[in-house]
């Protein structure tokens, strides 16, 4: 009886071992992924390309202002960009 219990403890059943191995593998993959995040951080001195004019959200401020004006004139009743709509559509 006793030797039976001992052997069960020292060598867990096959599915349990696979489960444990899988868990470790998952942890390892997660750690490697985290390392990837650390590598990708853009440092303040590496923003040269990001600072380029054509990397802007709106490269042309005049075009962006006109687009926005057309948009909020059309969408005035529904609250346009974030603000609650007055309903008059009078922009």
């Amino acid at each position: 009886m006793r030797s039976n219990a001992k052997s069960r403890r020292s060598s867990p059943s096959q599915p349990l071992r696979t489960k444990r191995a899988l868990r470790w593998l998952l942890a390892l993959i997660a750690l490697v992924c985290l390392g990837g995040c650390a590598m990708q951080a853009v440092q303040p001195w590496q923003r040269g390309r990001l600072a380029r004019w054509d990397m802007r959200w709106d490269p042309d401020p005049l075009q962006a202002a006109m687009n926005q004006h057309a948009y909020f004139s059309k969408e005035g009743t529904s609250g346009e960009i974030g603000a609650a709509g007055g309903g008059c559509g009078c922009n």
Binding site: L31, L34, A38, Q43, P44, W45, G48
Partner: protein, 168 residues
């Protein structure tokens, strides 16, 4: 649960990897090639002087104000007491050279295209400047630039120059 703790620890370790140089710390030494000339310039050459190490780039818009204003700052103090080392961080040195043609400087402009020195200082933002005393210790750090910041810099430089070298 232990997995979560392990992940949190790994995340913290990753976040703390880049340590920044704070006032009171010894400035990391560096050796860089200037834009004008071929002989490399190192921070150690300036031991005994008060040094302003400024990190700039052609794409950094506050630098368009700070670099020309530093000409006046250098002129306000004797060259034997105070020096400016402007570390250019453009990956493409032609961009930096064009910027320097547009905004000529009367102090030493150095090139660090790979950002090694910026990494060593652990820059938190652009532009960043570090005022280093005669003994090579960082005494003042400034991130960002507004034209009126030059006054605070002047005060700090005056105070540091007034301190005798032996006091450190």
């Amino acid at each position: 649960m232990s997995l979560r703790i392990a992940l949190a620890a790994a995340l913290l370790a990753a976040a703390g990897a880049a340590s920044a140089v704070e006032p009171g710390a010894t400035a990391p030494d560096f050796s860089l090639t200037p834009f004008a000339g071929t002989h490399s310039v190192s921070l150690a050459d300036y031991r005994g002087k008060v040094v302003l190490v400024d990190f700039w780039a052609s794409w950094c818009s506050p630098c368009r104000q700070s670099l020309p204003l530093y000409n006046g700052l250098q002129a306000d103090f004797p060259v034997s007491e105070f020096a400016i080392l402007a570390v250019g961080l453009d990956e493409n040195s032609d961009d930096a050279r064009a910027f320097l043609r547009e905004h000529p400087v009367k102090y030493t402009a150095l090139q660090d295209p790979r950002g090694d020195v910026a990494q060593a200082f652990g820059l938190k933002g652009m532009p960043s400047s570090y005022l280093i005393d005669r003994a090579g210790i960082v005494r003042y750090r400034h991130i960002g630039f507004e034209p009126e910041d030059i006054n605070a810099l002047k005060r700090e430089i005056t105070a540091l120059i007034a301190k005798p070298a032996a006091a450190h």
